[in-house]
Symmetry: C2
Subunit: 192 residues, 2 copies
Amino acid sequence: MKAPIDFYFDFSSPYGYLAAQKIEALAARHGRTVKWRPMLLGAAFKATGGAPLPQIPLKGDYAKRDFARSARFHGVPFRIPEPFPVSTVAACRAFYSLADEKQQVALAKALYRAYFVDNVNVGEPAQVLKVAASAGCAVDLESQAVKDKTRAEVEAALAKGVFGSPYVVVDAEPFWGIDRFDQVERWLERPF
Amino acid sequence: MKAPIDFYFDFSSPYGYLAAQKIEALAARHGRTVKWRPMLLGAAFKATGGAPLPQIPLKGDYAKRDFARSARFHGVPFRIPEPFPVSTVAACRAFYSLADEKQQVALAKALYRAYFVDNVNVGEPAQVLKVAASAGCAVDLESQAVKDKTRAEVEAALAKGVFGSPYVVVDAEPFWGIDRFDQVERWLERPF
């Protein structure tokens, strides 16, 4: 039994959203499953000194163009939501409040679709609760246990060196960005 | 006659080096030529607040691994030179001191090979002169005209929004990174 692929992402990351549409088929082609691991890009930025792309001169304008073009390239429906980016603490807590992995994945997909297709502000806890209810997931954003679990997961991701979204780990080999999925694919065939 | 592809790069950029091995065949497949345009990443970092990858926590360690893996992925000989990165002002001036475009390209390839294959420190003007001589290029690093020309080219690149290396422009559409060459290829077939 081969190990699952670790899939780290932030719910406010356009490239994470695109990757989420591709990762399962990619893994399945190589007899793998996917372990979905939402994290908080804001926490990673504290470590790297990074900032959300739209705030960066020159790069920000390019990024907006590249988000939309990359979505078309990958054949994925997409719009730049408003506001963008948003805090994804509530989304992350909702995910980690679920014990069932299938429910977690269903919620993650629903949250991404809500934000990047339907322009629902998933930065707002009330909207996260609505999306979760529509997806049939009974989530908890408030309990200390969920807050602690979320914090622990985010810290574990940082401790593993995760600094961006998406960030995929295959048998300890890290790949940052959906634009490394070609390398992930070849690595799954045979490490090179 | 279709317009040439603008290929911006920094002589100290591993991804620029990899791109330089691929760009001409890519362009030729679509009846295009390539206009090589070295720039100074340091000047771009002043605009974006960026820094050389090795200096960035987490991302720096990943980048070193990714440079080498990406080179293997693309089948290109590569080593991380020491020191890395280096100032590429002298290399840039050498390039722009040449009037003949074929000589410019020959020099660019020779400088990249010297740095990323043979570990020659092309940050040193003396080494740039040696590489140029070996490539049969009579370069000038010192005249005010060459300094002015180089500064003007770098400023023109920044004015066009070039913030990274490689940075390719096809008919006004910008693509950052060798990991956008798949999109460049499709764009050359038909803009999407």
